[in-house]
């Protein structure tokens, strides 16, 4: 058992990790920036250490400060959560060199899967289907992108080789758009990841984003825990996720699951990870990338499988063997996760501020993961995700009904949230039928010109 685990994150995932550690009997250290002195994760951990000023680069992304905390305060494990340093190979390596366990895969797996063109090449070589795209190590210059695009045909998705989180991503439908958006996407990639290398993929219309949860130990035992449908996205940012995916037949699930296991096995992966696929309307599926960390939406898989992914990730990092065989993984009911963002529901601009009144829903099958409390000040410096509402029921219709009821019960005063958007999604007839793809949320975007009129009327009344 670990003696003390440092949680190198903040917000909902830090709390999630602290809870898992409490159940396992592992003391925790929270780290925080000066902007987070009153954050819930700081209150919940056994110890807390301020590691730097508000800017993430100086605190939550500050590898020397976190390693120094590990050494000074005597932790023997680090959980990176998601975002921040979770997919930073140098951080995993720094942990290992300091003699501390990194809860996650080996640094080489993080680096390999972080290099998207390389991951694509390896998958293609091992028979995991990938979308047609630019070949080789990626493209930097527009003329090379143009040459690759002529071979592929439009529409095309421009992606960052070091990418993630939708940054540096653009759909282009013709040569003129490529010339216009390629430099923009490249600049975005350079700003976000410090890399100008891009790659192109054929853009699939009406595709669904379906990902498989992987669980693996250090002894080459590797299983999947089924899929999650994450097609409800806005600008490549997930908003609502569900398990199982309403479009999968048992046969297709088995085929995709096998492909996911193969994808993770060929690189010798260990700990938790996720294989992301695009699922075309014709039932063909394509590997897009692997996330080498716990995902925001891990909760829906936990609800339908009954397996605590965070506790398992810690056990696996301690060198324990996988406790389940593939055939022991069973699925019960349906789960939906609504990501609650502190944002203006119309403009999607972040809405930081003080939470004046907080009441969270409850009841059977209702799970709330949040860092909010009465009087909490949502800081401006970080991701606007403030809560995850996870609903579980015997079937999908039951989960939708439960989600609607819980969202109506949820009170978060003082800041604006996207709860109204979730209610509209859940009331949508196509969503209720399970008939939706990654372009689904566009129907809720107000037309740019018409948007003004109803809003003004609303304000006057």
């Amino acid at each position: 058992m670990f003696k003390k685990l440092l949680v190198a994150n903040r917000g909902t995932i830090a709390i999630r990790i602290i809870r898992a550690c409490r159940e396992l009997g592992i003391p925790t250290i929270a780290v925080y920036s000066t902007a987070d002195a009153d954050a819930l994760h700081v209150r919940m951990a056994d110890e807390s250490v301020c590691i730097g000023p508000a800017a993430a680069e100086d605190s939550y992304l500050n590898i020397p400060a976190i390693i120094s905390t590990v050494l000074t305060y005597g932790a023997d494990a680090v959980h990176p959560g998601y975002g921040f340093l979770s997919e930073n190979g140098d951080f995993a390596e720094a942990c290992r060199r300091s003699g501390v366990n990194f809860v996650g895969p080996a640094a080489r797996h993080i680096r390999l899967m972080g290099d998207k063109p390389r991951a694509r090449r390896i998958m293609a070589r091992h028979g995991v289907p990938v979308l047609p795209g630019s070949e080789g190590k990626g493209v930097v210059e527009l003329r090379d992108a143009q040459a690759a695009a002529r071979k592929l045909g439009y529409p095309i998705l421009i992606k960052a080789a070091a990418g993630g989180g939708g940054k540096g991503m653009r759909i282009v439908r013709n040569e003129a758009e490529l010339a216009r958006f390629f430099p923009l996407a490249r600049a975005e990639s350079e700003a976000a990841f410090g890399s100008r290398t891009m790659y192109l993929e054929k853009y699939l219309e009406r595709a669904r984003h379906v990902e498989f949860q992987i669980l693996a130990d250090n002894y080459r035992n590797l299983i999947h825990l089924g899929e999650r449908d994450c097609s409800v996205q806005r600008r490549h940012q997930k908003v609502l996720e569900e398990a199982p995916c309403p479009a999968l037949t048992p046969k297709l699930r088995e085929r995709m699951g096998k492909a996911a296991v193969r994808a993770a096995k060929v690189v010798g992966y260990s700990n938790v990870g996720t294989i992301e696929f695009l699922l075309a309307p014709d039932g063909e599926f394509y590997f897009i990338e692997m996330n080498t960390r716990i995902q925001v939406e891990h909760g829906v898989t936990e609800m339908v499988t009954g397996i605590d992914l965070v506790k398992e990730s810690i056990r696996l990092a301690m060198g324990e063997k996988l406790r389940f065989a593939q055939r022991q993984v069973t699925y019960r009911g349906a789960a939906i996760e609504c990501r609650v963002y502190a944002e203006d529901p119309d403009t999607h601009q972040p809405s930081p501020g003080t939470v004046t009144n907080h009441h969270q829903p409850g009841g059977l099958g209702v799970r709330v993961e949040t860092a909010l409390y009465d009087g909490y000040q949502v800081p401006v410096h970080y991701d606007p995700l403030v809560a995850k509402l996870i609903l579980h029921a015997d079937n999908r219709a039951g989960a939708i009904a439960r989600a609607k009821a819980a969202l109506r019960e949820y009170v978060i005063d003082g800041i604006q949230t996207n709860i109204p958007l979730h209610l509209r999604i859940l009331a949508d007839a196509d969503f209720q039928r399970g008939d939706y793809a990654t372009d689904f949320l566009r129907r809720f975007e107000p037309a740019p010109v018409l948007a003004e009129a109803p809003r003004v009327a609303g304000r006057a009344s």
């Binding site: 002195a37 209150r43 056994d46 605190s59 120094s68």
Partner: protein, 164 residues
């Protein structure tokens, strides 16, 4: 900055309920930190909170099962109340606090010593690197708040100096 300027700033801080203020101009940088009125910090240079902190044994033992309430009170960043002519030396990083360059050497500074500008005051060891913390201004050492070998966090008060 003159003492009376500092006093004016402190009054402004009180008026607007500010707990912390940092100002930088051509002449240098000043950071003022007020004791939290609702936590009833005594005006003396050594509030109970800090005393409690230094009384805690060094390194991992700091864990010693704590309730949320006392843990919060013990955390750094919340500075002791200062007199108008006093300045706080805060840790610029997470690490281990040392009062001398080597285990056998004499401490860089003792309470009551006169301090030159730029004089080393202590060392913060972070990842085997010894970082010397220098005096930003000349003055007198009033109070050393941390024990030799104690872990310190970012912004944690280390010493109180009298300047001007």
């Amino acid at each position: 900055m003159e003492v009376r300027d500092l006093k004016a700033l402190l009054l402004l801080m009180q008026e607007y309920g500010l707990v912390e203020l940092e100002i930088e101009d051509k002449k240098g940088k000043v950071r003022l930190v007020r004791g939290h009125p609702d936590r009833a910090a005594p005006p003396a240079a050594e509030p109970a909170r800090v005393a409690a902190r230094t009384a805690v044994p060094a390194a991992p033992k700091r864990t010693a099962a704590r309730s949320d309430a006392d843990g919060r009170a013990r955390r750094g960043g919340q500075a002791p109340a200062l007199e108008a002519n006093q300045r706080l030396v805060a840790s610029p990083m997470v690490g281990t606090f040392f009062r001398a360059a080597t285990p056998n050497a004499a401490p860089f500074v003792e309470e009551g010593d006169t301090v030159r500008k730029g004089q080393p005051l202590c060392i913060i060891e972070a990842m085997k690197m010894m970082n010397e913390i220098e005096a930003e201004a000349a003055g007198r050492m009033i109070k050393i708040l941390c024990d030799n070998g104690q872990p310190v966090e970012y912004g944690q008060p280390l010493m109180i100096m009298e300047v001007g």
